[in-house]
């Protein structure tokens, strides 16, 4: 947007200032982007006549989107950005993780769906393990194939999973004398993860005071609880980020990058590339399963429609926007995609009613600015996909690597360039004649 008016004299200076503030500071970039999104939402919310509760709830909704997408994009970045594994079955692995956790944690008499009533911790770990296991089962045959075949296998699998969840045999079946099941098309209810909000406020000493503060400024109890759950999501996204940054800055991540660049080279240097790909696939799928449960499954009810393949493609779009291969870029992409491109248009259309009667078709909408605005507001859920498409086309043309792609992200646990200055001076232009002397010093 700033490039449109780059001819103005102040823009260059503004850009320089922005660069000096944000470049190289991942935390500032994330905070700055989210701050910008908040500012936009607050302004539009106030225009729509929101009170404090409404504004807080709007920011909460946007942040939940951002954190949820952030987690998913990070997990996909491990697959696609780091290792080059073209997994387009994200929705399927989310579904397996969410449903397994749901079935394990739901009470036996739940309606709809049938559960085992296990403790939540066990259920969450079980869900991640199930997603990881399915990932390994998919990967074993598919990783020998070329990247595009893995894509076909995973996208097909994710639909098979979704249809399987809906199927009658899996809706209710008896396992070791216990009736469990997915609930079929009716979906499944289970202890809602977002009850964490009320639980935390009631358990933590002084939590009750938060309700009072909220009541004083006009923020309702459910919104406050939602905000607490939002912080849990932020914490999980941060944990994903720390985990993946550590993976990236390690010899393990180095091999992953090498596999992405040229698998035969990695293999010819003695790296068992299949082992690395299997581990990465399993871990990424487990993270997708957890993210699915915490984010899509936060209300305590899911059905097969929650896991349609379009989620997969949204996550991919977010990763492309952010920049494949960059963890901070993944977070930024998740935030920009979900809050700005996905949530914001919907938010606007819900809170601004078109003046007068909206035109019924596109031709009529071309009648004037007012008519077009009314038409756009009414059809925003369709138009935002056009917007996403336009953003993608623009990015591919002008910045194919995404916001933060191709960035100098180190693939080592230490700073490789930082070595003894004396040694570097010595080795700046070594001649072969000096080599035998050096060999003579070989002590070990």
């Amino acid at each position: 947007m700033s490039s449109a008016d780059s001819s103005l004299p102040g823009v260059g200076r503004l850009r320089a200032t922005l660069t000096s503030v944000f470049a190289g500071h991942d935390g500032r970039m994330i905070a700055g982007t989210m701050g910008g999104i908040y500012l936009l939402l607050i302004l539009v919310g106030l225009l729509a006549g929101f009170d404090a509760g409404g504004v807080v709830n709007t920011l909460r909704a946007a942040t939940v989107y951002a954190a949820g997408y952030g987690m998913l994009v990070l997990a996909l970045n491990l697959h696609w950005g780091y290792t080059g594994l073209f997994n387009i079955g994200v929705a399927g692995f989310m579904a397996v993780g969410t449903y397994t956790t749901a079935i394990l944690s739901a009470a036996p008499s739940t309606e709809p769906g049938f559960g085992l009533g296990l403790p939540l911790g066990v259920a969450v770990i079980g869900g991640m393990l199930a997603a990881a296991l399915l990932g390994v089962l998919t990967a074993l045959p598919a990783l020998r194939l070329r990247a595009d075949y893995l894509a076909i296998v995973t996208v097909a699998l994710s639909e098979i999973i979704r249809l399987g969840i809906k199927s009658r045999p899996l809706a209710e079946f008896t396992l070791l004398g216990t009736t469990v099941g997915t609930g079929g098309g009716r979906g499944i209810s289970y202890p809602a993860p977002n009850r964490f909000g009320s639980w935390a406020l009631e358990t933590v000493p002084g939590g009750g005071a938060v309700y009072d503060v909220g009541a004083a400024v006009g923020v309702a109890r459910p919104v406050i609880e939602g905000v607490v759950y939002m912080f849990l999501l932020i914490a999980s996204a941060a944990a994903f980020w720390v985990f993946l940054v550590r993976v990236g800055n390690s010899p393990f991540g180095r091999v992953l990058k090498a596999i992405r660049e040229d698998e035969l080279v990695a293999s010819s240097l003695g790296k068992d590339t299949r082992r690395f790909k299997l581990i990465v696939f399993a871990v990424g799928c487990a993270l997708m399963g957890l993210a699915g449960y915490l984010w899509l499954g936060r209300s305590g009810f899911v059905n097969d429609l929650s896991f349609r393949p379009n989620i997969t493609f949204f996550v991919f779009v977010a990763l492309i926007i952010g920049g494949a291969g960059s963890n901070t870029g993944s977070i930024l992409g998740g935030m920009v995609f979900s809050s700005v491109l996905f949530y914001f248009p919907q938010f606007v259309s819900q809170n601004f009613s078109p003046g007068g009667v909206a035109p019924r078709n596109f031709v009529a909408a071309l009648d004037g600015v007012g008519a077009f605005g009314a038409y756009a507001l009414q059809n925003i859920s369709a138009i935002r996909f056009m917007l996403i498409g336009i953003v993608l086309v623009y990015l591919m043309q002008n910045r194919p690597q995404g916001l933060l792609g191709h960035r100098t992200e180190s693939a080592a646990a230490i700073d490789l360039l930082d070595r003894d200055a004396g040694m570097r001076a010595d080795g700046g232009a070594p001649d072969t004649a000096s080599r035998p002397d050096r060999q003579g010093e070989d002590g070990e």
């Binding site: 091999v255 010819s268 003695g270 690395f276 490789l416 080795g427």
Partner: protein, 300 residues
């Protein structure tokens, strides 16, 4: 760590996983020698032995019943006109192709049909004809990738705070070795550069340096001089000669006759998938069949 540019046979400080026996260990049984030649010791001073190697692609026989062996510490050239089967032989040894028939032994141990990674871990490492750098990784990262037995290649060790310390220590140690190797190949000024930004010749140097970081016993060089200017060609050949003097064994695939004749002590000539001649450069030079093969091809 200072003052140790290359440590070819220094197995003691080699970073290796515990479970894996060092490649210098004697195998329990000598392999069955189908060539009829007596086997001297475990590898008989011949780290690489190829016996009756054949490779067909569909109806085309690229390599037909090829047998040779490479003596320890030698620089052997494998030459032949285009389409002679050099690269196929090379790729069979490196594990890229599975041979149709025949056996390949490395240090007396059969490695036929092994994965490239398994072969590399045994100490037989290769370079590529068209330098295959990991373009979006820096020169340093390319080099750091190569050493085997890195602790940090375990996911848990990379991630868990307590275990990560050992990884960092090993990384620092490897970093020193990497810098020494880069200095040896005179590409240390490019250390922070992305490999994709290197020139063709620099890539060849990086490729060789990277292969040596695996601390191999034997290096398979696939046309290391293709597309390299004469000055750099000298430099690369100097390095090879120097490293050979330190105990590495090299098998060099090349189609430039002069390079092979002037540098190798042993030459294997292939033609139409078979071995045409084998011996010292002087005798090969006189060999009429070799001359025919080369001149015959260029006449057509």
């Amino acid at each position: 760590m200072v003052g140790r540019p290359i440590r070819p046979r220094a197995r003691t400080d080699r970073v290796r996983t515990v479970s894996e026996p060092p490649p210098s260990a004697e195998p329990l049984e000598p392999p069955v020698d189908t060539s009829g030649e007596p086997t001297v010791g475990a590898d008989g001073g011949f780290p690489l032995r190829v016996e009756g190697l054949s490779k067909t692609f569909g109806g085309i026989t690229a390599v037909a019943d090829v047998s040779f062996r490479i003596s320890e510490g030698s620089l052997t050239g494998l030459i032949g006109p285009n389409g002679a089967g050099k690269s196929t032989t090379f790729n069979c040894i490196a594990g890229v192709h599975t041979p149709t028939a025949g056996e390949i032994y490395f240090n007396g141990e059969p490695i036929t049909g092994f994965e490239p990674s398994q072969i590399a871990t045994k100490g037989l490492v290769r370079t590529f004809q068209i330098a295959r750098e990991l373009e979006e990784m820096t020169v340093l990262e390319n080099m750091m990738l190569a050493p085997s037995g890195q602790l940090g290649e375990s996911l848990l060790r990379s991630v868990l705070p307590g275990l990560r310390k050992g990884v960092m220590a090993q990384e620092a140690e490897l970093r020193d070795r990497v810098w020494e190797m880069l200095e040896l190949f005179e590409i240390d000024h490019l250390a922070g550069e992305y490999a994709g930004n290197l020139s063709g010749g620099q890539r060849k140097l990086l490729e060789m340096a990277r292969a040596l970081m695996t601390d191999p016993e034997m290096v398979l060089l696939d046309e290391p001089l293709a597309g390299v200017n004469p000055t750099l060609e000298e430099k690369i050949l100097d390095r090879i000669q120097q490293l050979r003097g330190e105990g590495y064994t090299f098998l060099l695939v090349e189609h430039d006759m002069d390079v092979i004749m002037n540098n190798c002590e042993q030459v294997i000539v292939m033609h139409q998938g078979k071995i045409l001649a084998e011996g010292e450069p002087a005798t090969i030079r006189e060999n009429e069949r070799v001359i025919d093969a080369y001149l015959g091809d260029s006449d057509e």
